[in-house]
Symmetry: D2
Subunit: 278 residues, 4 copies
């Protein structure tokens, strides 16, 4: 199993008007496949930062209180990535009755993924494909052929139900619609935010994972970046669960920079293999 | 701390056309406040039933495969209920920045609770109340004064965004709208399905819990049943997470009976105290 | 030009609790193509009935006030139908800039036909067809292939935006979606209610007309009845404009019967010609 | 009856990429209350312009074809305004059964005014007011107290159903919601675009008229401009019917200027009288 090393990070700038409470979800997940080599989370001015971890979803949160004034948050990590890899034809759908209890929530509709309203359409478009990795790939192909990647075409309240008809969106809209299709086929699917290489301009990315063959496999219907570079930050039902910052108080977001660089190891590649980092 | 004993249960009848996989969430939660004295889950014909448990939400699932033919499922339990009780004025809102990581998901919008679209309205209607138990009580009062309890007025796809304008619904719609209001005030809130006394006709009930003062407190904007009788089955973000049966296959639901009886102990009462069973 | 004669009519029963004002739109349009031979509109008990006519849309209204008690309304007409007939290839789209002012409203979105939200999808699905009759026929074919005719699957608030995704509906839903597609292609389209032969059970029907080659041509994506039998009652932007009864007061609708019979002349036929009765 | 004279007009600039067909609705209505003294509609480069008139709604359209290149459209008119004036208490609701046929369409829901979904809420909020001018004034007061005028808070697809919950909008959103409330009370209401004095920045304005006491009376829930200055351009069911330009072809809108000046006569005033110009 080959590995790759990446430098990831972000710098976020705020103007705090009154006292503000911040909860960040920008730090990457640390597990057997995605290993943090070094990491730092710092604020300017320096503030006491508390770290907590979401029990089910592996997400990590950094929290602190900030006083009025300018605030800069800087996260930086060196990450080593390895992948579980499988041939697509060896990745079957899990019989719904056999899904683990902790996976069931990803089968149900959520704020931006109204799978309950897409049943007929999903059967009509994807019912003909063999269940498993191939069927989810067919979903990704459908999105590439039918939805236009168009910056500014959607808003934070756009959901899969909108995108399926309005036919345009950005990475989060692509992920939402693909997730909704999966769930309508009884395939659990979750939203993932991450650092990925080669985005222009650099930004956080959104993609999804489908639960197949007993694991969460990575899919990206936007095809904007080689999947073996995807470093996971947060997972959840949809974008509602994985925003990079939840802020309470009168705070103005002023600017942002995202860093993602390949350092060493197996070069990132677009792959048709089934890959997983969990 | 006084206790009360209840007999709860249900009988569900199905007609299975092809093989069907069933996941039931009708069994009650067993914890320090809600203790199962005796319990049985049986099928006719008899089938091997597997029990699993959702790690975060305390929900229990019973699963099995059924062959074509008639199927009856019977759940029955004797439950002893105790309550954590507090004076409303001693139950404050938790500062959002201090919420535990496992509670954060209940702050975000979900399929049927689009709190993100209700921010202004919520501030306009409830911003004037003191934060904490009183504010959530104001939400329940608003629902009683503004929403008509009307069987048949809504469908499974009705959400809080509909109910706030259409002004009619059943217990799940009341819970969804109340939850959406809470989240728009940065109060975590979750949907609860349960057995409750005196429903006419007997049925499963839906209500909600708000996370205040470090606990999940029970609220029921429908006021159809005394809260101290509420025996919890499942909790989740909204109704999408807590349906009593998730079924895969060609299966027809034919009839249902719900049982809920007071046996012994402190009689069920409508209370204005803050009560909790978790 | 051959003609056909039909007997059409309906019987509507109400229970009037308090005084009720009724406006009916069940009588057929009378023009050069659709000629009323004999006609009667009667109520039991007998009431003074006033007739008025909508200036633009040729619709006729019968109105009256009814006192508390049972009320029966009976409309009956013998109608002679002729058709303007044209070969599909000779029916072009009218350049949008040349549309008459009175036709422009049928180009804009309406309550149940949100053409403004379907632009991309419409281009994607129908942009490849030659403009004119062929393109509208392609829309009808798409509906037959993609939308299931399913009684009870929709409600009075269902719109084209729902149907395009939920993929099921009844005649009014088919008409709404087809109209929305037409408008998104800059083809004016209007909703028509009518008496048509062979519906099972007998009922009012909904179909649509597209403005092509300087006329309103008849289309029916449901294909439930031969188009040369379509006797027009009302036209409008969508179903909001053409309900058969608008009632003010506490009135209960108890039952209804619709009559449509072929009497004489050229037998009704499914035709691929372009036909028009206006 | 006193009169006032205004200078109104606009200048619209476009960049035409391919041939474009333009239909403008920027010229004012000419009738007994609103008299055009002088008027011009010119294009640069000069093009043959055709004028047509919508039969029911009194709207006037200017049309032309433009070749690739820069295009400037200049409309200018001197208008004399008089008002039918009535005391509010003498302006009753018309019994719905007595409404003229040509007014009925303004009773039904439209694209941006889903009155069918607001019945209960409307009764709850406005059922207590006496029918007629007072009730429509109560609707305007409700909007002022509950909806925030906030530029940029809405999009072209925002409708009354959104605004009633999201509680923010611009003039067209205010008009849409007020119209929807009126229709839910069986009061016909229509959308009006016009030139009005003192807007900052100068722009077209949107307000509404309700059909009461046999006439269309002017209402403006935004209260941004004195009503006696309102010079009517177009009326329709909602904004879908009254956009100032309908354009077919690849055309870019580059800039716009709106002119509205008081010249002579009775000075514009905010009035609590019922006033009408039709």
């Amino acid at each position: 199993m080959s590995s790759t090393q990446f430098q990831v990070g972000c710098e976020l700038n705020y103007n705090v008007a009154s006292q503000g409470a911040f909860i960040f979800n920008v730090s990457v997940i640390n597990n057997g496949f995605q290993r943090i080599v070094t990491e730092s989370f710092v604020t300017e001015p320096p503030l006491p930062v508390f770290e907590s971890r979401s029990p089910v979803e592996e997400k990590r949160h950094h929290r602190f209180l900030a006083q009025p004034g300018l605030l800069k948050v800087r996260y930086s990590a060196k990450v080593e990535l390895m992948h579980h890899r499988q041939l697509p034809e060896l990745v079957p759908q899990v019989a719904p009755g056999d899904l683990p209890s902790e996976v069931l929530p990803y089968l149900y509709p959520s704020r931006y993924c109204e799978s309950d309203k897409l049943t007929r359409l999903t059967q009509h478009e994807f019912g003909k494909y063999p269940p498993g990795f191939t069927q989810v790939t067919a979903i990704c192909n459908y999105l590439r052929d039918n939805i236009e990647y168009l910056r500014g075409s959607t808003s934070p309240s756009t959901s899969a139900y909108d995108t399926v008809t309005e036919r345009a969106g950005v990475c989060r809209d692509f992920a939402h619609l693909a997730i909704a299709f999966c769930r309508a086929l009884s395939i659990p699917a979750r939203f993932v935010s991450g650092y990925v290489i080669n985005l222009e301009p650099p930004d956080f990315h959104a993609y999804f994972e489908a639960y197949l063959g007993g694991r969460w496999y990575i899919f990206d219907p936007t095809r904007l970046s080689p999947q073996t570079s995807f470093v996971r930050i947060g997972t959840g039902r949809d974008a509602a669960d994985t925003s990079f910052a939840t802020i309470f108080g009168a705070v103005q977001f002023t600017s942002m920079k995202v860093i993602m660089e390949y350092i060493d190891g197996a070069p990132p590649e677009f792959t048709t293999d089934a890959i997983s980092t969990s």
